[in-house]
Symmetry: C2
Subunit: 496 residues, 2 copies
């Protein structure tokens, strides 16, 4: 006899199918869609979003959820599905279908408008639609409700339990040491030259080499693939089908570390138990934990001296200009720290300063202290303050990222949380595995991936981040591991 | 105030969004999906198909349709939407859910059994399930109802208004002349050598050249794209986003004419008025008319001496081995006629004989004159009779095509209708445009495409084929144009 849980799962499978379809429509939009497809795509996505919303918040699903909640034994996967669905139901039932459809349509249009605005360095044509997106976000926050700060309502959607005060505390803790570290680095006499990393690197070689990298570190290409997109991302619709994107530029590390970054997201997704496929337990638990995995593979593994030394001979065989490069030179060049304009191309040290700027800009607009049309000047002044540089154009300033254009506002601090967590997890991994540099130097990534699967990936979205992080590391998320190792690494690279 | 028609359109937009999503899932499955994605893809597609069916046959849609029918002015686009939806509703509501589920299950099992049977050349393990599929098809035909022949109910689903008698008449008319033409060709002393078309043609060159071809003939790459798939097809989800696929093999014409074929389908789809996007009026009207366009561009344009002569210099610049090929040699080689076993690889002359065999086999089984288990012998005797060759195995005989195994029985004659119509349309086009060979020889395809847009494409699915064909050609579909021009062309190629 079908149980209440079966009934709930069956409803959730319908919602999952609609979400999967939307994810694929979005993947296609960013990878292969011809421009003529944009207007119908916006309509299709909006209608599917409305249907997914309606199916999820429907009376049948709500009734099934109530019944299943009585039936599920505490501690079981079923109880986790119920908990997860209850949280999601709370978030979703606060938004009327009309608002969901309006936002979806506006986001699709916003994306197209942003592409044009960035290409033309023309913020003001994008400003009205961005202002609308901020207004719709405020509507959402007000519907969700919050106690202390409007940001609390937003960031909780992406990182369960996170608050404006917590973000503020993190930035307050890291701001001083990082600004100081950047300053010390700037004054060091040992400035690496990375000009040799710029060149005409054939796209097909970049494709082949990054696919080789994926295989080496353990991203399963039978259960995923890599394509290219202007703004790399990772998505998926099944534990067996995870899609990465990267991009090929004249600055070679863009593809190398972009691939490692998205592969970190992808391996996390691939690490969920297949039995959870299409349920709410499959996939990562939060953006912060997700980002910890992309940053771990990109920075802690990928930008280590051991990894660079291991990778270099093969890299040289794909790109003969690098065949004679000394590993130490390569290591220092790929860890060059220099204040720059584009977050996704920022080095590991300055990265969080970019996040901090965006957090402060978002808060200023949400608090009503800043009009969207005045954003560029405000944005630029923050860059001057924290990074000591001023964007020359809005395209390399506040137009740089895709997220706002798609209505994603209020989650940037999860990037910084990811950076913190990557080192917090890594310190535990190192304690268990011992000499990780030796493993990496031999290209033995399996023990590292296996540790992450056992400790983190196989739990999917079962435990909320505030449970998962102490379960793995014995303590709540903090900045100490991150600050210590960052300082240690970069003071060594720069001999300071 | 929203009208009943608005209400109907709104319901149909929902169904359209679900169908668009399914089309994209299917496109991805055949182009890019990693193998690990298969099981979730099957579930997602099946759930979306159920949702689309439920949304279409829902009480709300049926009520909106009834109201809209009262409101729509005869002759308007709205009336055509109503008519189209009424027909579709009739087809969709005749089958009880139990039968739909039973067929879906049987088709999935059938497909699996067919894959194994074909791989093992073992028809008899597939026969019982194929017999069941024929039985379920008979059930469907009985539910749909028919006056004269069970086939009437089936083919009407694919080609509105087509009947068994009509198919029979067509095949009776073309059987003799084509069998005679094949015989005469076989006895001709002038047998073209096409061995030079086999070679190692680099995939990237095949991609670049076929994309160049697409641009020349007028397929709009801003509103579509071309990828590769094992079995080429054309699909789409918007007038602004039509997807073609082709394949790159060691037999170069496979890509060239495959691309032209799918582009014919694609340009027909792109030619619908943008104002009809996402409505039932956008896109082609029937399988037969659709096939007329793919065959027109593939065979009448693409395999003409003028086209080959025009294309050859550019082809030679992409494939140096062909740089010195004589146009006449190329023309004859790409029009080589030779009886063979596999329909999808057949030349233009023998192609309809393959279709005829399948039609006769289907009818014999549906009429109860042939038991499924005895099909191979019957099939082989027909190949002997019409093509003068006997399949050596059932895998290259009655097991060759996927369609039956998935329960698609009763639409093969639309391929032949497409061939007939392609020449019937072309004769009218030629009457209006004059010397089409001169246009083609100069690479001026725009007048040809424009004529097709004005006469056929811009009407989308507004007029049923029995109205459209006389509207364009002044007479109902017939075989005369086809037979005359086929004979003329191939007697000239073979000097007979």
């Amino acid at each position: 006899m079908p149980t209440a849980l079966d009934a709930l799962k069956s409803r959730l499978f319908d919602v999952n199918a609609l979400n999967a379809a939307m994810a694929m429509l979005d993947w296609d939009q960013q990878t292969y869609m011809p421009k003529g497809g944009a207007s119908a795509r916006a309509e299709h996505s909006s209608l599917l979003a409305r249907m997914a919303h309606e199916a999820f918040v429907s009376e049948e699903t709500q009734r099934a959820l109530e019944e299943a909640a009585k039936e599920a034994e505490p501690g079981t996967d079923e109880a986790a599905i119920v908990r997860n669905t209850q949280r999601n139901m709370k978030l979703r039932t606060k938004f009327p279908a009309e608002l969901v459809a309006r936002k979806s349509k506006l986001s699709a249009e916003g994306h197209e408008a942003w592409v044009t605005a960035r290409a033309n360095n023309d913020f003001q044509t994008f400003a009205p639609i961005l202002a609308e997106l901020f207004e719709i976000t405020k509507e959402e926050a007000n519907l969700l409700g919050y106690e202390n700060h409007i940001y609390d309502a937003l960031i909780d959607m992406y990182e369960e339990g996170a608050t404006h005060a917590q973000c503020q505390a993190i930035f307050d803790e890291i701001r001083g040491p990082i600004v100081q570290l950047v300053k010390d680095i700037k004054e060091s006499p040992n400035q690496p030259d990375d000009s040799f990393l710029y060149g005409e690197w054939p796209n097909d070689k970049q494709r082949e080499f990054t696919e080789w990298l994926l295989k080496q570190i353990g991203f399963d290409l039978d259960r995923g693939r890599q394509d290219t997109a202007p703004h790399p991302f990772c998505t998926g619709w099944s534990v067996g089908d995870i899609r990465l994107t990267t991009r090929f530029k004249d600055y070679l590390p863009s593809a190398l570390f972009g691939t490692l970054h998205e592969a970190g997201h992808g391996m996390y997704e691939q690490g969920s138990p297949m039995a959870w496929d299409r349920t709410p337990l499959a996939g990562g638990v939060s953006l912060g934990v997700h980002e910890s995995q992309s940053r771990l593979w990109e920075n802690i593994v990928g930008r280590s001296e051991a990894f660079i030394t291991w990778m270099l001979p093969t890299l040289g065989s794909y790109f003969p200009a690098l065949a004679d490069t000394d590993p130490k030179t390569m290591y220092c060049a790929t860890n060059k720290v220099e204040p720059s304009f584009i977050r996704v191309e920022a080095d590991e040290v300055t990265y969080n300063l970019h996040v901090m700027v965006r957090f402060e800009v978002e808060c200023a607009v949400l608090e009503g202290k800043l009009a969207v049309k005045d954003m560029p000047a405000y944005w630029n002044s923050k860059y001057e303050e924290y990074l000591g540089i001023t964007p020359r154009t809005d395209s390399e300033g506040c137009l740089q990222d895709v997220h706002w254009s798609m209505g994603s506002i209020g989650y940037f601090p999860t990037y910084t949380m990811g950076n913190l967590l990557s080192y917090q997890f890594w310190n535990c991994l190192e304690k268990d595995l011992g000499d990780t540099d030796a493993l990496i130097a031999r290209g033995e990534f399996r023990p590292i991936l296996e540790w992450l699967i056992q400790k983190i990936y196989r739990h999917g979205a079962k435990y909320p981040p505030q449970e998962l992080v102490p379960m793995v590391t014995g303590k709540p998320m903090g900045a100490a591991d991150y600050l210590a190792r960052l300082s240690q690494k970069y003071r060594s690279v720069y001999g300071i």
